[in-house]
């Protein structure tokens, strides 16, 4: 019997979305291990959302309170987790922050780290993880011995209603030495969804012809009513048409939205690697032989300057 610890992420006193998903992964693993789920919430005060964790599968909710948790404080979280005792596995959401925290924690615990996994399960005495490698061009299965730290990719698990006690217990934050001082988070200049988080991604490539034509994609994204982000191929990011944060592919972000609309993107192998797990892929391209059509569920061949505005109008109408 081994218990599972889910280390949850909060910002500004509220749990980040994805807490329930992570608990679903933790619940499933704990049930396989015959153990229970502890959820750890580190905050500088009360953290909104803590009360709902039992309903999503936490047997116990451990709250650690320290002024340091007003910002991301990796050393303080590591010290807190180390003070909690033995677990069969420690789960963290593989967000930007989680990917930073997981290896620190693993090294401090002398543990293996399974990064960005899409499935985690018990396998004999080990914890088995499945994870995309080569930006999704291949899938690796690893067995992790000991008490591994596993970073679970957001979206890999769906939240469940589990109806556990979720009794809240305060835990102490042991002494720690803060080495990295996070001074704050500033919102990007234009408030927009991150391509890695959006339900819909509208991505543009060289076929747009000029940087200002990204406006067409912004309009299409806007028609989805705040659910869509604009992405891009490496070619146009390297050409400076759009910021690197929008890049989808092997040297950019790996995305798995429900809908991916590739506009004027030819579909280089390294781009396909970053978006092939999207639920539905739509390709709009002038070249009917473009590789993007091989992975697209639906394709339209033709002039994007004619097709995209028509699609924008039709989507806006459908969303009404």
């Amino acid at each position: 019997m081994a218990n599972v610890l889910a280390v949850l992420e909060q910002r500004n006193g509220a749990l980040r979305k994805g807490a329930a998903e992570l608990l679903a992964a933790a619940r499933q693993l704990a049930d396989q291990l015959g153990g229970s789920v502890d959820a750890l919430v580190c905050g500088s005060g009360a953290v909104a959302g803590t009360e709902s964790l039992g309903a999503h599968g936490a047997d116990r909710v451990l709250t650690a309170t320290d002024a340091a948790f007003a910002q991301y404080a990796p050393e303080a979280i590591v010290a807190t987790v180390k003070g909690l005792g033995a677990y069969g596995a420690v789960l963290i959401a593989a967000t930007a922050t989680g990917k930073d925290l997981a290896p620190r924690l693993a090294a401090a615990m002398g543990a293996a780290c399974g990064m960005d996994v899409t499935a985690v399960s018990a396998a004999g005495g080990a914890i088995r993880v499945v994870r995309p490698v080569y930006a999704g061009k291949a899938i690796q299965t690893l067995d992790l011995a000991g008490t591994p730290v596993v970073a679970v990719r957001p979206g890999a698990y769906a939240a469940v209603q589990a109806g556990k006690a979720g009794a809240v217990e305060a835990v102490t934050v042991p002494a720690f030495s803060a080495r990295l001082m996070v001074t704050g988070i500033t919102a990007p200049e234009r408030a927009s969804l991150d391509v890695a988080e959006a339900r819909v991604v509208v991505a543009g490539g060289r076929g747009l012809g000029e940087p200002q034509h990204f406006a067409l994609l912004e309009q299409l994204a806007a028609a989805f009513g705040g659910e869509a982000a604009v992405g891009a191929s490496r070619a146009v990011v390297d050409a400076g048409w759009i910021g690197h944060g929008a890049q989808v592919g092997q040297t950019g972000k790996t995305v798995a939205p429900e809908l991916y609309i590739a506009v004027g993107v030819s579909g280089a192998i390294q781009h396909l690697a970053g978006m092939r797990t999207a639920k539905v892929i739509v390709a709009i391209n002038r070249d009917k032989d473009a590789p993007i059509f091989k992975v697209a569920d639906y394709g339209i061949v033709g002039d994007l300057f004619e097709i995209v505005p028509a699609l924008t109008e039709a989507v806006a109408k459908a969303k009404q």
């Binding site: 290896p103 990295l180 988080e197 390294q270």
Partner: protein, 249 residues
């Protein structure tokens, strides 16, 4: 300013992946290997920081078989001063590799140890932060800006929905993301000079890890799609498909 850069040799990102006979690694036949793209941001940052400081040393370090020497020479051609080849077989366990690197780096007197954000082969994204933890020094990962002044590093990194700013004292370990800088290409002069720069070979033993590779497989192929038509006339068919078949609209 003494800076180490930890380098990985990876398949070029245009590589089509073929699973090797053992079913746990890729078939390397005909694969072109390059310096890990994210490591190039680390190399550029190191060279630029040393140039700005006007003094110091840049040292590129790689763990692996003899093939990494070619990758190390590429770094030397970019302008790094010298190279160290930690000659050994890397583990599937990032922590085991981190222990070897930390052991080598700990007495090196480095102000900064730089990594790429991740290696584009195993996507492990952990060795840099682990080395920092093992060395007991500050760490910031996936940085997109860096300023070093008065023995401190100020960085920013992208997080969901914003940009996080942080700072720490040196020595520190930083991992570098795209956007930090534009890596220089090796010049012909640099390539010639690289042949004469020191490349030390240090045999190492990588400790046993806690990770076993069970399998490597190709993802399921996507079912062949459907071209709905040409031009704007096909838009209604697309919207209908997205609404009623795919149910994503």
């Amino acid at each position: 300013m003494k800076i180490a850069i930890c380098l990985r040799r990876v398949p070029d990102t245009t590589t089509k992946i073929v699973v090797g006979a053992g079913g746990t690694a890729i078939d390397e036949t005909g694969v072109k290997f390059v310096p890990n793209p994210y490591d190039e941001y680390a190399l550029e940052a190191a060279i630029a920081l040393k140039d700005a400081a006007g003094a110091g040393e840049t040292v590129v370090v790689a763990l692996g078989g003899d093939a990494v020497q070619e990758t190390l020479r590429t770094a030397l051609a970019m302008g790094v001063d010298r190279a160290v080849h930690l000659q050994g077989t890397p583990s599937a366990d990032g922590l085991a590799n981190a222990r070897v690197l930390a052991d080598h780096l700990k007495d090196g007197g480095y102000d900064l140890v730089l990594f790429g954000k991740l290696a584009v082969d195993d996507y492990g994204q952990q060795v840099g932060a682990m080395v920092a933890e093992l060395l007991g020094v500050p760490c910031a990962t996936a940085i997109t800006s860096l300023a070093v002044e008065g023995g401190r590093a100020k960085v920013t990194r992208e997080v969901e929905g914003g940009v996080e700013a942080a700072e720490c004292a040196l020595p520190a370990v930083l991992t570098c993301d795209k956007g930090l800088n534009t890596p220089r290409l090796p010049s012909l002069k640099g390539i010639m000079a690289a042949k004469k720069k020191p490349l030390d070979i240090v045999p190492v033993t990588v400790p046993a890890g806690q990770v076993t590779v069970v399998s490597l497989a190709l993802p399921p192929e996507r079912a062949a799609g459907k071209i709905l038509g040409e031009g704007a006339a096909a838009v209604p068919a697309l919207v209908a498909a997205l609404t009623s078949d795919a149910k994503v609209l």
